[in-house]
């Protein structure tokens, strides 16, 4: 994994360091007030290799999930608990969104009310037929 010294002296264009500081502040907010933060990576400037550098720096933690809904999404906790990396792909396997979520559990992992209701109906149907 990338060490702190390398992160500070990022060999690229200097766009990764400030973002990691933003993540650090968001973790503080989560700890102090339980307020989650989502950082949409689509609007930020990254030079060649910087996004990969950011992803590698955050690393991989204990939990990874794959979601199959309108294309595949990969959701994983980074090496820093409470900091999640989300990547959404469309049915053509093209990336349509990348986010860093600083939260206890990303909302998209929770079962949704509408899906629970529809699932319950399906289960009931199965029992009565």
């Amino acid at each position: 994994m990338t060490g702190p010294e390398e992160v500070r002296n990022t060999p690229f264009y200097g766009n990764v360091g400030p973002l990691l500081n933003e993540v650090l502040h968001a973790v503080d907010r989560l700890l102090e007030t339980d307020e989650p933060t989502t950082i949409d990576l689509a609007g930020l400037p990254f030079g060649p290799g910087e996004l990969e550098h950011l992803e590698a720096t955050l690393g991989t933690g204990e939990l990874s999930c794959k979601l199959d809904a309108l294309g595949t999404s990969r959701i994983r906790e980074t090496a820093y608990p409470g900091v999640w990396w989300l990547e959404h792909r469309n049915p053509h396997d093209e990336v349509v969104g990348r986010y860093i979520e600083i939260t206890r559990t990303p909302e998209i992992l929770s079962s949704q009310e509408a899906d629970i209701t529809a699932g319950r109906a399906r289960l009931e149907d199965q029992l009565t037929t």
Partner: protein, 351 residues
């Protein structure tokens, strides 16, 4: 009017789960440059939105804008066309042609009078109606007839927005932009040669989601995408600030990824979202490929001197200040870029 299904109904019928829908909404927020905290509002709005009818007119153009949109990944154009909008007329994409196609256009106009969107790519020649016709109808007549019952008009690409290449000096066909002819309807300009597909879909999605048009700048461009210059968001900006420039396309500076200002980069005076939205499913954008920005989303970009001439040697005297500031390593790029903008506006007015 036939009642169109809501987007929520369409997605439900296709068996899309709520999770899938939330993912769609997160992507939409990202496209609209809205904060993720807006996702619940977007979800509520999209669920109840009815698919708007869209009529796409192509005039003096190269089909590059349609190519750009149909290669859009966010969301997929199939998704956009089939789930979010009802594309009722587009003579390049539709199967029908001639009288049948024109009948489809008239039917969509009649059924959705007052609520449909008209998208135009290409400029309109006023020199002679015969320069560009579709089914024997001049571009001017077709535009006038079609916008009459429209809710709004979106000028896609620099040709429709500003006259573009057909309108370049000496403008042999007398080409004009859409907003020079349509003055009694809202006109949104989405320039670029071609425009970023995401920006095109975002304008449509915003209309679909909130039933309203985006906030525009003085050139009629949506501020969410044209509110900052390429230079404001360029990843090479730290090199500009340090005065590190590539002098030729193959020198050490070019290889090290230094700023392309001296190779003619128009990033400091060009408002567009390429630096962050990027192209080809987010792969890169021209500057990342080592080529200076041409400024293709600005009025009259074609007539502003050589693409490879630095701003300082072109028609923008503020360029000297820009280069001076950068060479001195002073962090005043934003101020200098603002000066560049003022000069550009002057040029546009005089040009």
């Amino acid at each position: 009017m036939k009642k169109r299904p809501t987007v929520g109904e369409v997605l439900q019928a296709k068996g899309v789960s709520r999770r899938g829908f939330l993912k769609y909404c997160a992507t939409t927020a990202s496209i609209l440059a809205l904060p993720p905290s807006m996702i619940p509002r977007i979800a509520a709005a999209i669920e109840s939105a009815r698919r708007p009818s869209v009529i796409w007119l192509s005039f003096q153009e190269c089909t590059g804008c349609t190519e750009s949109l149909t290669r859009s990944a966010s969301p997929t154009v199939e998704g956009l066309i089939f789930d979010a909008i009802s594309l009722d007329y587009h003579h390049t994409l539709q199967a029908a042609s001639g009288d049948q196609a024109e009948a489809a256009r008239h039917a969509a106009m009649e059924e959705n009078h007052g609520s449909y969107l008209v998208l135009v790519d290409g400029s309109i020649p006023l020199g002679n109606p015969g320069y560009s016709t579709i089914a024997g109808i001049s571009n001017l007549d077709m535009l006038k007839e079609t916008v009459e019952g429209a809710a709004a008009v979106v000028a896609i690409g620099s040709c429709a927005a500003f006259g573009g290449i057909p309108g370049a000096d000496p403008n042999p066909t007398g080409a004009v932009a859409v907003d020079e002819l349509v003055t009694d309807k809202p006109v949104i300009n989405v320039p670029g040669c071609p425009p970023i597909p995401m920006v095109m879909t975002a304008v449509l999605t915003q209309f679909l989601t909130f039933g309203q048009l985006p906030e525009l700048d003085k050139h009629g461009r949506p501020l969410a995408f044209y509110g900052q210059t390429i230079h404001d968001r360029c990843y090479r900006r730290p090199f500009y600030e340090q005065g590190k420039f590539a002098e030729t396309f193959d020198d050490e500076g070019a290889k090290a990824g230094w700023c392309l200002y001296k190779l003619g980069c128009k990033g400091p005076i060009t408002y567009n979202a390429c630096a962050t939205a990027k192209w080809n499913s987010g792969t890169s954008f021209p500057i990342e490929g080592g080529h200076p920005c041409l400024g293709c989303s600005e009025p009259a970009f074609w007539d502003k001197g050589g693409f490879y001439n630095p701003l300082s040697t072109g028609k923008f005297d503020s360029g000297t200040k820009l280069a001076g500031a950068a060479a001195a390593g002073v962090a005043m790029g934003v101020v200098a870029a603002a000066a560049g903008r003022r000069r550009q506006d002057k040029f546009t007015r005089e040009g």
